[in-house]
């Protein structure tokens, strides 16, 4: 096309494409809006949604699997062993609980919402809920503590454990004294020096 031809073509082509574009936008002027008015209307969250974590602390056996699986180390768990005379109850999967969980903190600000902690839990006590409106003004409020043991209960549990350990140690020491075959930490006295040399085995009897 000659230069003049291109010139005219460009002008009319521009006008044409501009009008095509304007037709599209005016059509959208009358379509329904794609947004909802959020605080008054909330959209539905699917059931597999991964939002805020929740721990059902009554089911927790203190195995620490979730804490190990977390890629950003946002779960902190401390456990105290229970003594055989205390009954901590059963989990929902009918296993016996053997550990107290005095501290189960999740720093939800660090959490990356990957869901890796949910899979290894044997009792399925840690789950991702569909709550997504949990903003706080103070960052300290974002450290969620799920444990429900009071300070006195923790102190009592620790005391019981120490007492139990003490008793166990005493029992072990007493058992060691009675049976010679038991392993003890008592230093062994060296055997007496025999004046006679030990008999040389008869090589002919091999």
């Amino acid at each position: 096309m000659s230069a003049l031809g291109t010139y005219f073509y460009n002008i009319f082509h521009s006008l044409y494409t501009v009008i095509v574009g304007m037709k599209i936008t005016i059509r959208h002027l009358f379509t329904r809006s794609a947004t909802v008015q959020y605080p008054t209307v909330k959209m539905k969250i699917p059931e597999r949604a991964r939002n805020r974590l929740f721990v059902n602390i009554d089911d927790c056996i203190g195995c620490d699997q979730c804490s190990i699986a977390c890629p950003v180390d946002c779960i902190t768990i401390e456990t105290i062993k229970s003594t055989p005379d205390m009954d901590l109850g059963m989990t929902s999967k009918n296993t016996k609980k053997r550990l107290y969980v005095p501290r189960f903190d999740i720093d939800i600000a660090k959490c990356c919402y990957c869901g890796l902690c949910v899979w290894p839990c044997p009792t399925e006590c840690i789950v991702m809920t569909d709550v997504y409106e949990f903003a706080e003004f103070d960052r300290q409020n974002l450290i969620y503590s799920f444990s429900n043991m009071t300070v006195e209960e923790i102190a009592a549990a620790k005391e019981r454990l120490e007492k139990y350990n003490g008793e166990q140690a005493v029992k072990k020491a007493a058992a060691a004294k009675e049976s010679p075959a038991s392993i003890s930490i008592v230093p062994v006295t060296p055997p007496p020096i025999n004046p006679e040399p030990p008999a040389v085995p008869d090589s002919s009897k091999v």
Partner: protein, 366 residues
């Protein structure tokens, strides 16, 4: 005059600093400064207790296209451990990756419209993207960073109404591509702005190791899904899209843009075929209990992510966490060609050229 298109700028797609030496409005030189989003991804990988924990970190590298990141890492680990995943897992991974490719290209196209001054296509593309993110949220629970493609399988199987909703999406989206083309791509003002701008010649592209839509926009017929095949792409019928210089020279910004638009259509075809051929199976059958590759095993695996060739190089020292993970981010390599193609243009052209490279700073800086 030296002018600074600083880290905070409405159109540098993230925290990228471009130091431009201009003469009037003509650019004499352009020096990109990166590193504002460096998050020590590769170092973090060494601290993880096992390989599976790296997947959430790999997600966050190219946050606009997370499924492809996860898939590349999972492929690398699977090849190192010599795991065979079930057929169903392969097909689902293909569906997810292609949906993710469409979502990522929608962001690229929308923000490219904003760079050139048209604010409306951005909102239209985000409405379409919402539908894709709804599909993802239905499957794995998250909308942007999924932790879905695990080493050896997937974290969840497809929910019951996924197939139907995906088919609805395909039917809904095809006319939308046409509408976006009418509104933006073939608009004469947009064509005049992007034709013959930021021309990347074929040989320069190959020498700088660019990949993805940028490479194909320069006329090079190279697509890793066909030329270095992985998963089931060789069983599906699709074509890589090449730029032909329809409204200007081969390798200009318009070519890259139309390659992205056409790739979205091809992805729709792939998803349709994958849904039709989806076999039954257990998606968690091949997930290993313990991931412990042998000592001194190293592997480099590359895949076609939304922005180009995404590769992971893993060195193992026999323990449960990798010794070294190196990610080859396509956006990083693609960005390196910017000084070359921006010279001689105007500042307005620089904005469009940088936009057509489609960088995501998470991938550039890792």
């Amino acid at each position: 005059m030296i002018i600074n298109m600083g880290p905070q700028h409405p159109s540098t797609h993230g925290v990228l600093r471009l130091e431009i030496v201009v003469d009037g409005e003509i650019i004499v030189d352009c020096i990109p400064h990166i590193g504002y989003l460096h998050r020590c991804f590769e170092k973090h990988c060494e601290q993880m207790t096992n390989y599976q924990q790296v997947i959430p970190y790999a997600d966050r590298m190219d946050y606009c296209s997370a499924m492809t990141n996860e898939w590349a890492f999972a492929l690398a680990a699977e090849r190192m451990l010599k795991i065979e995943v079930p057929e169903r897992v392969e097909y689902i991974r293909v569906i997810m990756a292609e949906l993710q490719r469409i979502a990522s290209h929608l962001i690229a196209v929308g923000t490219y419209g904003i760079d050139s001054g048209a604010f409306t296509p951005f909102l239209y593309t985000f409405i379409d993207r919402e539908k894709i993110l709804d599909l993802f949220e239905m499957t794995c629970g998250a909308r942007l960073l999924y932790n879905y493609i695990w080493i050896g399988g997937l974290s969840h199987d497809l929910p019951v109404n996924f197939i139907e909703q995906a088919k609805d999406f395909i039917k809904y989206f095809r006319p939308r591509i046409k509408m976006l083309n009418d509104l933006l791509t073939y608009n004469e003002i947009f064509v005049k702005r992007t034709a013959n701008v930021g021309v990347l010649p074929k040989d320069v592209a190959i020498h700088y190791a660019v990949s993805g839509p940028q490479l194909r926009g320069s006329g090079v017929n190279w697509d890793l899904r066909r030329d270095d095949p992985y998963s089931v792409y060789h069983k599906l019928d699709w074509q890589p899209q090449i730029g032909k210089g329809e409204v200007g020279t081969v390798g200009d910004c318009w070519d890259r843009h139309i390659v992205r638009m056409r790739e979205m259509e091809q992805s729709l075809n792939i998803i349709e075929q994958a849904i039709a051929g989806l076999p039954e199976g257990n998606v968690k059958a091949a997930i290993p209990k313990r991931i412990r590759p042998e000592k001194d095993a190293e592997i480099y695996v590359r895949t076609e992510a939304s922005r180009g060739e995404l590769g992971y190089y893993i060195i193992s020292d026999g323990t449960a966490s990798p010794f070294r993970v190196k990610a080859r981010g396509p956006a990083f390599v693609n960005l390196s060609v910017l000084p070359e193609i921006a010279r001689g243009g105007l500042i307005a052209d620089l904005v469009l050229t940088a936009g057509s490279i489609d960088i995501v700073l998470g991938e550039v800086d890792r």
